[in-house]
Symmetry: D3
Subunit: 136 residues, 6 copies
């Protein structure tokens, strides 16, 4: 689905990174997409048995421990979403939790799964757009 987003994920020992690019200039729309992406990451973790997370805006928490960081922004030709998930929670300045603590054994495979589901969701919403009838 390379036309609407150049999605990728980057794995380091510390963080799993998602970068989403939409070739549109409506930042409010991108921020709604960002919230949906965060909700989807939580849903993907639920499929792995993690049911202790809550979403607050564009952040994921287990109790007061933060799992994620995220930002949305405009480039001169597109809008961009970054979301990073902690893998390990060592040496962090605020209380955090990492995918390792949540028993996510294979962060790479988890990243691939999130990326795939996000693309599926975008495609599904675009198709839904084409099936709507107006009302008076």
């Amino acid at each position: 689905m390379e036309d609407v987003l150049a999605k990728d994920w980057i794995f380091s020992e510390d963080m799993l990174h998602f970068i989403v690019e939409h070739f549109e200039m409506d930042l409010e729309k991108t921020i709604i997409r960002q919230r949906l992406l965060i909700a989807m990451i939580k849903e993907e973790l639920e499929k792995l048995g993690v049911t202790t997370l809550s979403r607050s805006g564009d952040d994921l928490y287990e109790g007061d421990k933060k799992l994620s960081v995220s930002i949305a922004t405009l480039s001169p030709v597109s809008s961009l979403i970054h979301c990073g998930l902690n893998v390990l929670n060592v040496n962090t300045p605020i209380p955090t939790i990492g995918l390792a603590n949540l028993q996510v054994k294979d962060p790479l495979s988890f990243g691939e799964s999130v990326a795939q589901h996000y693309c599926d969701e975008v495609r599904s919403m675009r198709l839904a757009r084409c099936k709507v009838r107006g009302v008076q």
Copy 2:
């Protein structure tokens, strides 16, 4: 928050209805909002201890039993989202589940909570829009 949406919920013995109206003509944006609303309803149910649901597009399920119906559309001057949640699951043509089965004791209060959180989310996204710095 009456300026961007006329949100309400309607309770009958059978269904709890949400109606959201955004005074914008971008239906794709509305469909993204709709998916986020469905994800939020699931999150609100999690706060009541319901952890067995999954979202598929604009539907909520417990296993193969459907909890919700939803549609997004354009009026001549706005975009509209409807979402209905089953309260009771008697006499339905397909396998369904209702809020009653999920031990939601007070659907009215639950509806109020969802409506409040959706408004909070919209406001929070609008404020987030105003804090973004562009990138090169």
Copy 3:
């Protein structure tokens, strides 16, 4: 490419019809697409050896004989382009020419070819959108 357009062509003894639907509400954009579609129909005919046509706005002519009719409009949820090409030019109130006069032996196959190339062009423009770098 069913997500952005529901393209079809209808063949009668009299006319070959194209219907294009884009799920967007920007009618100016649709009118630019319409002009490009008309230019493409001319280009497809050139591949069949027809080099006598000229385009004037959303019309195709051979000299003062009109080959096409076209209109663009908004539905409540999308924008629509219709273009009809004469097949035979019998009994028309103004000077016309038909695909038969232009030695297009197989209007059905010609219609399929135009539809295919229009979809290719839309896809190609969408991909081009994603490769642009801004300038200062």
Copy 4:
């Protein structure tokens, strides 16, 4: 009303400055807002008894003496309006007039009043948007 504009006014001996920021990328809309802001500044001055001004585009004049400078522009994430009103008219290269000449005793309080009314106008227009019924 911090979500749609970060409005402020800056007072120096020479000028009273207004900065308006709208988090939208439609510059034509911003230019219409700019003209309305200039018209409103004139209206606010009328409430103080100043009835000698005329507006020409985004400028205010008393006869051929210029009271204001204004510019609208795009930042990478928003649109911006600046409007400066002369306070004193000493040492200006073209014929000018200042708020002091117009007997505006308290420029700070006047700035606050303009800012407040502009916010009220924006809010009022947003609410008006939500009360419209379409026509056929």
Copy 5:
């Protein structure tokens, strides 16, 4: 300037009517244009010596006597502004004032002047759009 608006004014014994049509679907923008039109009508009256009016949103008053009615709406393909000014103020259910009371001798010529200045303002704003440089 027939491309962006089909502007006209209708004179009866009772009212002078302005109809503005913009071929765009952004109703918020139209509402900003409507406020500017109302401000301009007041400014045109000032040129005739009428300095007793005040604008409140999309209404013009002399004290508590209403001079105007106005509405903005969407058609399926455009946005529309109607503004009517009382000519005579006989037999009105609320306190009103008419152009006759304001010593506007020639409502037809006044209507023509407002229409002309509105077109000039639209053209001037469109040109201003083309002269903007962005900021970082």
Copy 6:
């Protein structure tokens, strides 16, 4: 037609350059305009008797010899199209053809003609926008 585009053409011994600027931020729309511009250049050459060209996306070819280069991009306040046509085809790294080979005797006058017709086409599309009636 200086309000929507600052169109110009630059002639050197090597290339005839067209620069089009539209004061809008919708890059997809600009890319559609770009394709139409390329189709129009081919149509203008047909009026001079050149019937051997074909268009592929934003390129013009005679067989496998390339006549043109083109790019569309966003500036911070507008969208821009550049199209350059080879005049001579000496010393080019890939197979090319130039206007000289196509017997275009007067590139300057040809440039003026393309620029004029592009402006006419833009104006004609804008007027067409204003004549549309919606459908249900």
